[in-house]
Each structure stands twice: as structure tokens, then as C-alpha cells.
């Protein structure tokens, strides 16, 4: 799980062009949206694409994203349980 979390942080930084952020800056339970990492609605769509492209997970209901993308912890747990690649 720790390996997956580290991989997720690196992919998020790359995909979302977070130039001023390093993996060490993102705590596992930090909020990804709002006051945490400050991601926006377009970032949320990018994360949905990332789940599909990298882990073979298609979100049928985008509203699921709110709970899944709460933090690195919640994302990693969801991916570990649902990944198809």
C-alpha cells in the first residue's frame, strides 16, 4: 500500500502539473481539494482519467469522486480494491 501511495503522489504531481509541489509535501491524509492541495474541478476530471488510464477503473458515477479523492489514503484504498491493471 505504501508503494501505491508513493506512486499516486508522483502521478498526481505529473498529471496535474504541480510544479511547486514534491511528493514529500503531500501527506497521506491531506485534503486534495479545498484547503489542502487546492485542486479544482478540472483536476478532478484529470484524476478520473488517471484512474481509468493507469488502473483500469471507470467511475460510472462522477459523484463517487468526492469520497474517493478525499486524500491519498482514500484514493489508494479505492484503487487497491478495484484496480483491473
Amino acid at each position: 500500500m505504501e508503494e501505491l501511495k508513493a506512486e499516486l503522489k508522483a502521478k498526481i504531481i505529473q498529471v496535474l502539473n504541480l510544479e511547486d509541489v514534491s511528493a514529500e509535501d503531500i501527506k497521506d491524509d491531506d485534503s486534495l481539494f479545498g484547503d489542502g492541495l487546492g485542486l479544482d474541478s478540472i483536476d478532478a476530471l484529470e484524476l478520473i482519467v488517471l484512474l481509468d488510464k493507469e488502473y483500469g477503473i471507470k467511475l460510472s458515477d462522477p459523484k463517487q469522486g468526492k469520497a474517493i479523492f478525499e486524500s491519498i489514503n482514500t484514493m489508494a484504498e479505492f484503487i487497491a480494491e478495484n484496480r483491473t491493471k
Partner: protein, 201 residues
């Protein structure tokens, strides 16, 4: 009816060089526009992380606009009137590449939202908190007469107190931006000849 207008400030970006009012203020040894833009962002101390998420056309527009518009113009009634030749084709092509293969079909929302040239108007407006008239025209070459007429109309009709005008072109690593701010006072007359001089230098 005719109120005299002036070119207050101007800026130019081309060939890894950035000029403010004709003076070279930054040059870089850069490998491509993205590298140049990153270096210029740091040189100008923009402190605006959203910059990194923009496409290259918007980065070019934001950099040039930041040189022309000091903070004194934030929240002011500054209309924006821009033009280029290639529209958003540079980003359109990146989007096309992401949907080219049926078995690797992953369009990026962050790229897709920049597949309109006038998005860079919005980026400038957000950056400087402008809620003003704006338009983006696509032309083979810069049309100084139209730009002059439209800027004059916006000022004379009091739809704007200032107008940020110019050319913001980027395609396939070739780029050039020339922006100038028109307003009620300044040293340089807002005339078609002066505009052509600025653009074609």
C-alpha cells in the same frame, strides 16, 4: 467625439527574449517555449501556480500581459482585444493526439479546456481581476486598422477606460507576442502607424 488616446506601455516576447517598452528585460537559453516560459515566470516572480496548468498560448499571453499591466490596473475597466493567426491549433493538435488511437483513448480535460484561443483572454482577466469587454480575432496577419478602430470605439463609448491590445501567436514552437495598453494619457499616440511599428519591429 474624438478623444485622444495613447499607447501607455508595451511588451514583446519572441525568440527567448522579453522586452518592456522596448527595453530587453529578460533573455534565456531555453530549449523550446515551455522552458522559456518557466524561466520567465520565475524571473518575473509571478507567484501564480495556476500558470503551470495553462497551455502554451495562455502562458505566452499571461507573461506578456503581466509585463504590460502592473498591479495598478487590476480591478480596473481594462478591455482586452487580442488577435493571432493560428488560434488554439497548437493545443488542438495535442488534444487530437490524445484521442487518435481507439485503444488508447484518454482525452485530457486539462488540455481540452484550452482548445479555444479566447481562453487566454479569460486567463488574463482572472489573473488581473478584470470584468470587462474582450474579443479574440483570428487573422492571417495583424490587422492594425481593425484593432485601432475597435480600441478607439471601446474608449470613446466609455465601455472601457483602457484597452489591452495585441498579437499572441504560438504554433509548433514558433511564438511571438506583442501587447500594448491604450488609455487616455501617455507619450505615444495611439495611431495605426505606431501600432504597426510596434508589431513589426
Amino acid at each position: 467625439m474624438q478623444n485622444q488616446a495613447y499607447i501607455i506601455h508595451h511588451a514583446r516576447i519572441a525568440g527567448n527574449k522579453l522586452y518592456r517598452n522596448g527595453e530587453l528585460i529578460f533573455t534565456a537559453q531555453a530549449e523550446g517555449f515551455a522552458d522559456f516560459a518557466k524561466q520567465a515566470y520565475k524571473e518575473l516572480n509571478l507567484d501564480y501556480p495556476k500558470f503551470y496548468k495553462m497551455d502554451n498560448l495562455s502562458k505566452l499571453a499571461i507573461l506578456c500581459a503581466d509585463v504590460v499591466l502592473s498591479e495598478a490596473y487590476n480591478h480596473q475597466n481594462v478591455a482586452i482585444l487580442l488577435s493571432n493567426k493560428s488560434g488554439s491549433l497548437d493545443t488542438d493538435r495535442r488534444h487530437q493526439a490524445s484521442i487518435q488511437q481507439e485503444d488508447n483513448f484518454y482525452p485530457s480535460p486539462a488540455i481540452f479546456v484550452y482548445t479555444l484561443a479566447n481562453i487566454c483572454l479569460g486567463e488574463i482577466s482572472i489573473r488581473h481581476d478584470l470584468k470587462s469587454e474582450n474579443i479574440f480575432l483570428i487573422n492571417e496577419t495583424f490587422d492594425a486598422e481593425t484593432m485601432h478602430a475597435q480600441a478607439s470605439y471601446l474608449l470613446q463609448s466609455k465601455k472601457a477606460d483602457y484597452v489591452l491590445c495585441g498579437w499572441v501567436e504560438l504554433f509548433d514552437e514558433k511564438y511571438k507576442a506583442v501587447l500594448y495598453l491604450v488609455g487616455p494619457s501617455g507619450q505615444t499616440e495611439h495611431s495605426i502607424n505606431q501600432i504597426n511599428d510596434l508589431i513589426n519591429k
